[in-house]
C-alpha cells in the first residue's frame, strides 16, 4: 500500500492511497486505505496524514483524521503520528501499522507500532534542496 501526502507551492495539501489490500482476503473485504480519515486525511489549514498496516484494525480508529486533528491542536507532525499510534495501542497492543504526517509549515514525521518482524518503519520524503528522494526511518513504539 502506498499512502502519500503532498503540499504544493501554494500550500495546498492533498493526500492519496492505493492498494491491492490483504492477500487471501475474503472477497469483498476492503481495508482502511480508501476510507476517509483512516487511510488518509487532508486539511490545507493544518496538513495531512496517511496510514499503512493492518487495515482491519486501523480503520476502526481513523488514525489519519486523528493525526490531523492532533496537528490542528498544536502537535508537531512526529508527535501527532505517535499519538495516533498510541491511541490504537491502548486497545490493540501489538497491531501492525504506521502513520506519516506533514503540516503546512513543511514539517513532517512518522510513527509505527512494533510487532514481530516490524521494529522500524521506512518512509520516503522529497523536499526542497534534494535532488533525489530521501528514505527515512523511525523506530516503532
Amino acid at each position: 500500500t502506498i499512502g502519500m501526502v503532498a503540499i504544493d507551492k501554494a500550500g495546498c495539501v492533498a493526500t492519496g492511497t492505493s492498494t491491492n489490500g490483504a492477500t487471501h482476503k475474503i472477497p469483498g473485504r476492503i481495508g482502511d486505505s480508501p476510507i476517509i480519515g483512516a487511510g488518509a486525511y487532508a486539511d490545507s489549514t493544518v496538513g495531512g496524514a496517511a496510514a499503512t498496516g493492518d487495515g482491519d484494525t486501523m480503520m476502526r480508529f481513523l488514525p489519519s483524521y486523528q493525526a490531523v486533528e492532533y496537528m490542528r491542536m498544536g502537535a508537531d507532525p512526529t508527535d501527532a503520528c505517535k499519538k495516533a499510534i498510541l491511541r490504537i495501542q491502548k486497545y490493540v497492543k501489538n497491531f501492525f501499522g504506521a502513520v506519516i504526517c506533514a503540516n503546512t509549515t513543511g514539517s513532517y514525521g512518522a510513527a509505527c507500532s512494533k510487532t514481530a518482524g516490524f521494529t522500524k518503519f521506512h518512509f520516503t520524503v522529497f523536499k526542497t534542496g534534494l535532488k533525489d528522494p530521501l528514505e527515512e526511518v523511525v523506530d516503532c513504539l
Binding site: M4, A14, N20, T23, H24, I30, G39, T52, A110, K127
Partner: protein
Amino acid sequence: DPTRPLVINTWPFQRAAEAAWAVLEEGGSALDAVEQGCTQCEIDQCDGSVGYGGSPDEHGETTLDAMIMNGNTMEVGAVANLRRIKNAIGVARAVMEHTKHTFLVGESASLFAESMGFPSEDLTTNKSLTIYSKWLEQRCQPNFWKNVIPDASKSCGPYKPVRGLQNKKEIFLEKEINVHNHD
C-alpha cells in the same frame, strides 16, 4: 516559502515520490502530484502491495482500493473492491471530478471506470496465480475466518457459522498481516 513543496509517502517507494515531486516542481497541484505518485506505484506494482497482480483474494482475484482527498475543498473520491481496472487512484480522482458522490465500490465502480474511459484489463499475473495456487495447496492457510465450521485453521471452505456463540469481549486475533501483506 522555502519549506514547500513537499512530498512524503509510506514505505521506501522512491519512484512514487519522484513522480509526485516532478509535478510539484513544475508548479502543478498537490492533487495532481498525489495522483501521479500513486499511479507510478500502481504501474511499478510497489512491493507487490500496490496495483495489479498482487494480494489475490480467496477466489484468486486481485482487486484494488484507492482514495484521493483535496485538503482545500475537502472533496474526496474513493473506490474499493475495484475489478479489472489498473489505475485505481485515477478512478478515485474521476469519482471526485465527475460525480457528486464520494465512494464507489465493486463491480459498479468498475463499470463507472469503464464509462470514464479507463481500460478494462485482467489484473491477474503469473505471480498472483502462483500465490493463489500455493495457498490452495496449503489448505487455504492463512485466512481471515473465525467461528465457522469446518475449522478454518485447518480446512478450506465453504464455511458455515458456528451457532450458539456467547457474547465475549472482542479478541484481536493474530493475523498474517506484515510488511509483505498490508493495507
